[in-house]
């Protein structure tokens, strides 16, 4: 009863504010989740270093603006390029040599890459938190009909939806996309058909990492304390988001991200007593989904290839 009272007593304005908060958090999760899902779709492996790629992208942008005084828009472009290169480098050095090895080996290699990046960042940038620089316009606070938000919160969902549309176009309507889908279905056959698998996998990592960089920049503007370990929790959450939506499915990743972000905010909105258990929400949703729909909400049922 108490909870129903809480819902009834919540003003429309508070509710709208919660929704805006939830959507902006959810679209951030969605953007990063796409990276997980793409790599899984192609390689059937979970790129555990993805969260740390987000972290590295934050540092690239941080140093571009504060140390090299590059204008923020150029910095963001450079960040996206550098992060894409980093993604390809990780694939070449940690995953490609293990392509013919059992899937478990690649998984462990991914965890190794994750630890390497974290410790490298710790060594290079020190563990003390640094502040992501304010960006003109985007860092500003604006008020719309009593709802107070940072301008970036309006940008994040737009960027996420745009990325989704562009990505779906690439995957479904281009030659590269067709090749990606072919590799994802069966890469031995794809190779026989004359598709250059290495290139396709590199492109996948470029796209995934570029999206991670875009996510990282927006994450940095929204939550400006950056540390070497900052990628761990978002990485985990976005992985869960990808699984909820059906790993391997791009639309599913976006859906999962929104469910997770909105859910985390609304659970605190409606049940303030549970505010300390917010992180648990993601894991409980994961367990429930895995119980009733192991392939995720939009995941297709596939027979396991051995």
């Amino acid at each position: 009863m108490e909870y129903f009272d809480a819902i009834a007593n919540m003003s429309a304005l508070s509710f709208a504010q919660h929704m805006v908060n939830g959507i902006s958090l959810g679209s951030l999760y969605a953007l990063i989740a796409i990276g997980y899902t793409m790599v899984y779709g192609i390689l059937l492996m979970i790129n555990f270093a993805h969260g740390d790629i987000v972290m590295m992208a934050c540092y690239f942008a941080f140093f571009g603006i504060t140390a090299f005084h590059i204008p923020w828009y150029f910095t963001f472009i450079i960040t996206i390029i550098l992060t894409a290169i980093l993604g390809v480098l990780i694939e070449r050095s940690a995953y490609r040599p293990l392509r013919e090895a059992p899937k478990n080996s690649i998984l462990i290699s991914a965890i190794g890459a994750s630890f390497l990046l974290e410790n490298l960042a710790n060594y290079l940038f020190s563990g003390r938190p640094m502040r992501f620089p304010d960006v003109p316009l985007l860092s500003q606070n604006i008020s719309i009909g009593g709802i107070e938000i940072q301008a970036i919160c309006l940008v994040i969902p737009v960027v996420t939806i745009l990325s989704l549309v562009v990505l779906l176009h690439i995957v479904n309507h281009t030659k590269t996309g067709m090749a990606m889908r072919a590799v994802s279905k069966d890469y031995e056959i794809a190779r026989v058909m004359g598709i250059n698998i290495d290139n396709i996998i590199s492109i996948t990592f470029i796209i995934g990492s570029a999206l991670a960089a875009i996510g990282a920049i927006m994450y940095g503007i929204r939550y400006p304390g950056i540390t070497p370990m900052m990628g761990v929790m978002p990485g985990l959450k976005c992985f869960i988001a990808a699984v909820i939506g059906g790993i391997g499915n791009i639309k599913g990743a976006v859906l999962g991200g929104f469910i997770l972000g909105l859910g985390e905010i609304l659970i605190v909105a409606f049940f303030p007593d549970l505010s300390g258990y917010r992180d648990a929400f993601a894991f409980i949703v994961l367990i429930v989904i895995l119980f009733y729909k192991p392939t995720g909400l939009l995941g297709e049922k596939t027979t396991e290839k051995v």
Binding site: G22, N141, I149, Y223, P224, G225, M230, M233, S275, G276
Partner: protein
């Protein structure tokens, strides 16, 4: 059975005689014009950075106050290696082998607690430097300390909020952090008592260490429209919390504890943390006592940069211990020294005039600082009140 008991009784009395003999031996050592004070700090391991800062304070205090009862004070520095097991044996060695008159230290509550039973059983007083957990001195007549305990800061901030006329306060606590939860609990109790209004705490929200997004709890808090928000906790999370509160248009006064006093808090928070209030032990510019001025002069001569509150607190711990030895008039009767330390009243220390309460915890003025133009600046004193 009976026989066994008798035997153990004999063994104990033999041990006691041994101890007495030991005391006798020390009497002679004391004649040699040195009074030994044990320094019990983590100088290696995880807490080495804090231990090192405190060692500076103790050494400075020893330089400025090198004598007591006409004899030289000799520091016996012992490294407890940031390790609880090591801490216990190091404390025992200071007492049994070095036969110190008193112990100063440690940094870190768990290390001090590891030595708790040893100082109690051997009846040698110890003065903690920065061990803030109430358990260190509770039920231990031989452990004292120079730093505030966690609850004290919570109470002081409640008093500060009350003095500033705040009627409705929301609490945000880092639920996985004992320090934060402790401060929040005592803040709540004291504030309700001071305002006489059960409903003066309008919201208690929780978050986890490492959280980045606080918009949900803050939107709930905004709906309650509090005058102030008490949010003790880790500095990065707290800075983001204040930042997001301002973005949501919450203009309430934010208040916190001494963990906020780090450069990172200002770096991450930027202009949004301007004007927050936090409690701390020591302010360099508004040093209130003569002792503080001496301390600052000596510190700048010896080291670069600004002294940390840890260094100041360690300095004070030494003063409390040595003052006890002087008041007791003996370096050998450690029970008398304990009584003298327990009776410490209005002792001039770096962090203010210090009186120890019945638990052995200091009562002294608390400094309230704020952030102004990107720097921590003095804002106010909250006068110490006997409980």
């Amino acid at each position: 059975m009976k026989f066994k008991k008798l035997l153990s009784l004999l063994a104990v009395s033999a041990l006691a005689t041994g101890l007495l003999a030991g005391c006798g031996g020390e009497e002679k050592a004391a004649d040699s014009n040195v009074i030994k004070v044990g320094v019990f700090l983590p100088l290696t391991g995880d807490n080495a950075a804090g231990g090192e800062l405190e060692l500076r304070g103790i050494k400075l205090a020893n330089q400025l106050h090198p004598e007591v009862l006409g004899k030289k004070v000799e520091l016996v520095v012992a490294d407890n290696k940031s390790d609880k097991a090591e801490a216990a044996s190091v404390a025992a060695r200071l007492i049994e082998k070095d036969k110190v008159s008193a112990i100063v230290g440690s940094y870190g509550s768990s290390l001090s607690m590891a030595a708790g039973n040893i100082v109690k059983e051997n009846k040698v007083p110890a003065v903690g430097t920065s061990c803030t957990n109430p358990q260190v001195t509770a039920n231990n007549d031989y452990y004292f300390r120079a730093c505030f305990i966690d609850p004290f800061q919570g109470k002081v901030m409640a008093e500060y909020a009350h003095q500033n006329g705040f009627k409705k306060v929301a609490i945000v606590q880092e639920v996985s952090n004992d320090y934060s939860v402790g401060l929040a609990k005592f803040f709540r109790e004291e504030f309700v008592k001071l305002t006489g209004d059960e409903n003066s705490i309008v919201d208690i929200a929780n978050y986890q260490t490492g959280d980045k997004d606080f918009t949900a709890i803050l939107t709930n808090i905004k709906a309650q429209d509090p005058d102030a928000v008490f949010a003790p906790g880790n500095f990065t999370e707290s800075a983001l919390l204040v930042k997001q509160a301002r973005q949501l248009g919450i203009d309430a006064q934010f208040m916190g504890g001494d963990t906020w006093e780090t450069q990172e808090f200002i770096d991450v928070g930027g202009k949004d943390v301007e004007g927050v209030a936090l409690s701390t032990a020591f302010d360099r510019e508004k040093a209130s006592t003569e002792e503080a001025k001496k301390f600052l002069d000596a510190y700048t001569k010896e080291y670069n940069g600004e002294p940390s509150a840890l260094t100041a607190m360690a300095y004070d711990a030494y003063l409390i211990a040595v003052n006890g030895i002087e008041k007791a008039g003996t370096a050998t009767d450690t029970v008398k020294i304990r009584d003298a330390i327990a009776a410490t009243k209005d002792l001039e220390c770096v962090t203010g005039m210090t009186t120890l309460d019945e638990n052995g915890d200091p009562i002294k003025d608390v400094v309230i600082k704020t952030v102004k133009d990107g720097k921590f600046t003095f804002k106010d004193y909250v006068k110490a009140q006997a409980k």
